[in-house]
């Protein structure tokens, strides 16, 4: 599913954000990625989502080499990956329903299919009642759940989450990880980056640890 081989990412004039990373994640796995701020967690997720390209090495996602991926093929790959960020990046002028339905609109699904699928996903994350609300009227946790609903609405093969619990209280954060477990059980390979080691330890999952751009731990629990 995901294979990184000797991957280095260097931003111009700065030290290596990632250095000589080699790892493999199988289809259907749920993996945590942890490390201090600036350890390279976000960069690693960006490389997998084809937001950035590696300076050296190979990143292969679902059989596609990110480095060799043509510009026009990137959106197609992104539509197969669910991306979740600490800030959910919602469209403020669109309702919750419109935000969640957007990937399906881009994908070209029929209106009826979009409506039923979006309602189903909103039900899964417990936001069906807020379908017509605008993001600014929602709490942080609710906004994050809208972001998650948008990420999973296309039923992607891979779910990448970058500090999805960063803005949430401990109770909500735990609920959020349980939600990711549900999606993982539905067949989505899941990679969650978080610096909250205490939270991640509550779940017995494979944990990758980054330190200053280097992979320094790969615990299988």
């Amino acid at each position: 599913m995901i294979h990184l081989s000797n991957v280095t990412k260097r931003y111009s004039g700065k030290r290596d954000a990632l250095s000589e990373i080699t790892l493999h994640i199988d289809t259907g796995e749920m993996v945590f990625l942890t490390g201090h701020s600036g350890a390279g967690k976000s960069t690693l997720l960006k490389l997998i989502a084809a937001i950035e390209k590696p300076s050296t090495g190979e990143v292969i996602v679902n059989g596609q080499n990110i480095h060799r991926l043509k510009q026009h093929a990137v959106p197609r790959l992104r539509r197969q990956i669910g991306l979740i960020f600490q800030t959910p990046y919602l469209l403020r002028k669109q309702t919750v329903f419109e935000n969640v339905a957007l990937p399906l609109v881009i994908e070209g699904l029929r209106h009826k299919e979009i409506t039923s699928r979006t309602h189903a996903v909103l039900g899964q994350v417990g936001l069906l009642d807020l379908a017509k609300a605008f993001p600014d009227a929602l709490s942080c946790g609710e906004q994050q759940r809208v972001g998650i609903a948008r990420a999973i609405v296309t039923k992607p093969f891979l779910l990448l989450a970058d500090e999805p619990t960063g803005n949430l209280d401990p109770g909500l954060a735990e609920q959020m990880i349980r939600l990711f477990e549900c999606f993982n059980q539905m067949g989505m390979t899941t990679l969650i980056a978080s610096h909250n080691l205490a939270l991640l330890r509550q779940f017995k999952r494979r944990t990758l640890t980054l330190d200053a751009g280097r992979l320094c731990g790969d615990e299988k629990q």
Partner: protein, 309 residues
Amino acid sequence: MRENTSTYKKHTFLTLFFWHHFLAMKTALRRLFASPVSAIIVCVVIGLTLALPTGLMVLLQNTQFLSGGLDKTAQVSIYLKLGVSQNQMNELNRVLHQDQAIQQVEYISPEQGMDELEKTMQFGSALKELKQNPIPAVFVLNVAPSFSTSEEIQPLVSRLERLPGVDYVQSDIQWAKRLKAIRTLLHDVMNALFLLFGFAVLVIISHTIHLAMQGYRDEIEVLKLIGAGTRFIRRPFLYSGIFYGLFGSLFAWLFIELLVIFLRPSVARLVGLYHASFSLQGVSFHAGLSLIGLSIGLGWMGSWLSMKR
């Protein structure tokens, strides 16, 4: 096995094309109405920019109406000497009717001439005081359409001047030529203005769309992250440019119509002094559609240029 979107009911290629274009139009309109004041200002500026060359085009159309068919067939007037006999008149009439260069002959007797003078100049009883009618008999000739240039008409004029009983021959070809030259000049000025102001519209729309793109940068980033392609992201901005062009041209049309309504009484008063009837015309339907088409094209090109930036 996990299902994905490939198992969902999707649009066909063609219906998806139209569906995405419909959505892009909706998004573009939503963005315009999101900030109505600035959108109206931009449209009014485009309208004013396009109104100048369009106004000139309307002026040109009106001069065409005013000149009627002057440039199609030339007219020659033959003023006869006073006291020409009826025999001479008949002979002249026969000669004129036989001439291949002449399409139509109209005779205006001195009495008819006097009546017309009385009607148009409103001299009242002053003309009745004259002992003798000073108006000469006149033949008004319409030259055949194949004789349209002054070079072609000049031999006819010379021939007519040599006929017995003829005092003076006047051709309107010079006047028609001058009018045609003025209209050609106006036409060239109009084209130059359309080019110049069209470029201005292009710059206005390009800059407006560029600013709009800056305003929607976050939204563009989100769309990119969730897998929207370049065309999906660009399309609403292209439609914004098209709508700016459309509404701008409608404003231009409106401004010209208002100007025509404002000027119509003054023009009618002026024309009335010459005892003619003429009503100032606005933008014709055909010209209006051309204006809209041109403006939409400029809008599309302006937004396309802003994306290339």
